[in-house]
């Protein structure tokens, strides 16, 4: 049981980070980025290519994350411009459709160029014992990186001027403009951050299990579930929801059956929407 929960927490940290990138973009103007998971796949392919081209793994990972961040910024500067010109009601639909289209374009391009592409980063070494539970070195690294980035993000949004600026746009865009914050600049930065997070998740995930070209939309769906359960727009909520869902996923996979665990996650999202649309941890 202890092992299952520990595994679940490690899985959930990744979910949380994934959810943060989705939830922030939604909070800043009502767009659910359905191409989000494809950014992760894009990063994975870039990293894989760079490594096979002889680049050191760490450098390749940075390159991949930068590539995904660039994709995020480009998305904001191109397709998102007409979206944010719409009033809120029309925005939602246009944002969904354009990012869905983009998801298929990216997936199409990647599978066309590199149909068998994917990323596995294997880190050797004997499993490390944590609380008496042996855990693979790759998982430990992935969890530590995720935890560190998570803490940095939470501090960034709670205590820095720009971080507070981002939250102010989420809470009241007009109010933010009145204190001198440019929502469109904030959005561009956050789209970049969101891409970078997708890229980072690609890297950490590939330390425990391979990430393939076709896995993008699944990542998007996980990110959606996490951000909905955590409360759309809430960074801390996404992390908590991620960890909770990670544990739920691992427990149900271990004790009920592996295909059930996905259904349980989807059911959790549906239930949250119905019972607490603002999310478990939303205000």
């Amino acid at each position: 049981m202890k092992a299952v929960i520990l595994d679940g927490i490690i899985l959930g940290l990744g979910f949380g980070l994934l959810g943060v990138g989705m939830t922030l973009v939604y909070g800043l103007g009502g767009v659910l980025n359905l191409a989000y998971g494809e950014f992760a796949v894009l990063a994975a392919i870039v990293v894989a290519q760079a490594i096979s081209g002889g680049m050191p793994t760490v450098l390749a990972a940075v390159l991949g994350i930068l590539a995904a961040a660039t994709a995020g910024v480009l998305l904001d500067l191109s397709l998102m411009r007409p979206v944010y010109r719409q009033s809120t009601g029309h925005r939602v639909l246009l944002g969904l459709m354009l990012t869905l289209g983009l998801a298929f374009v990216i997936e199409g391009v990647l599978t066309w160029r590199d149909p068998l592409g994917g990323l596995t980063i294997s880190i050797g070494g004997k499993p490390i014992s944590i609380l008496g539970v042996p855990i693979a070195v790759g998982s430990v690294w992935a969890a530590l990186i995720t935890l560190a980035v998570g803490v940095v993000l939470l501090v960034f949004f709670a205590a820095t001027t720009f971080g507070r600026g981002v939250r102010s746009v989420i809470q009241d865009e007009l109010g933010a403009r009145l204190v001198g914050i440019s929502p469109s600049l904030v959005r561009t930065v956050i789209f970049g951050l969101s891409g970078a997070l997708a890229g980072l998740v690609a890297v950490t995930q590939s330390m425990t299990s391979p990430l393939t070209v076709s896995g993008g939309f699944n990542l998007t769906v996980y990110a959606l579930i996490v951000s909905v359960v955590g409360g759309l727009g809430s960074v801390a909520g996404a992390f908590l929801a991620g960890i909770l869902l990670g544990i739920v996923d691992d427990v149900s996979a271990r004790y009920i059956g592996s295909y059930i665990s996905d259904i349980v996650l989807l059911g959790a999202a549906a239930l949250t929407i119905l019972v607490r649309p603002r999310g478990l941890f939303g205000s």
Binding site: Q171, G180, S182
Partner: protein, 233 residues
């Protein structure tokens, strides 16, 4: 001249609401815009603040043209606008709301001290979420947030909205004490006696046009104003 508005026209979806507006505010002056419901006071303020793109005319601050600037740039140049709906950040504490007023800088100590001097009621509530404050307290935070920016011009839209008569009076007294410290104010207000109590000059806006301009004394004596706004037959 600190603020200079000339032949300004603004409106929504191609429909003009205010037009041909000429208006000036000198440094240290308190100017009131009075007019009945739907006259276009809010529209005019929004156009000056950059929330609404003017259709024609010019807005300049200390001689610098800022007609087509977006709102955040206008704010950065030293014009703080407090809309009637306040637009606070409801899930953040009063303190964070105030701190954000100085964005992108850290708030100056004197600025915060000024806020607590004018609105002492805020001091014990610094850790309370803005969304849980009463309407009057929210109004104080909104004005306080604008003050923290140490603006060159403070624009207020209907500071008396939603306040009981006593509180509305307090609010205008606070504006009076700001005036005493040399703050430049542009206030839109329907409650004409209140507005004229602090103003150095006033403009009357009717159907989107300025129809009268003068000192409170002149406006007070004007038969039109007396009939339309002061309820005097």
């Amino acid at each position: 001249m600190l603020l200079e508005v000339s032949t300004l026209a603004a409106g929504y979806l191609g429909q003009t609401v205010v037009q041909g507006v000429n208006l000036e505010v000198s440094p240290g002056e308190v100017v009131a815009i009075i007019g009945s419901n739907g006259a276009g006071k809010t529209t005019l303020m929004r156009a000056i603040a950059g929330l609404l793109r003017p259709m024609a005319g010019r807005v300049s601050l200390a001689g610098r043209d800022m007609t087509r600037w977006p709102a955040h740039r206008v704010a950065g140049a030293g014009v703080a606008y407090v809309p009637a709906e306040r637009h606070l950040f409801p899930a953040m504490t009063v303190k964070t709301n105030l701190v954000l007023g100085a964005y992108p800088h850290r708030p100056q100590r004197e600025a915060l001290e000024l806020v607590f001097e004018i609105f002492p009621a805020l001091k014990p509530r610094l850790q309370q979420r803005a969304g849980t404050l009463s309407g009057g307290q929210q109004q104080m935070v909104a004005v306080g947030r604008a003050l923290v920016a140490q603006p060159r011009l403070l624009m207020l839209d209907e500071p008396s909205t939603g306040l009981a008569p006593k509180l509305a009076k307090d609010a205008f007294e606070a504006l009076g004490s700001l005036k005493g410290r040399g703050m430049t104010l542009l206030v839109a207000e329907q409650q004409v006696p209140l507005a004229l109590s602090v103003a150095d000059r006033g403009y009357v806006l009717e159907n989107g046009r300025i129809t009268l301009e003068g000192t409170p004394h002149e406006l007070d004596r004007n038969p039109e104003v007396r009939r339309a706004y002061l309820g005097v037959a």
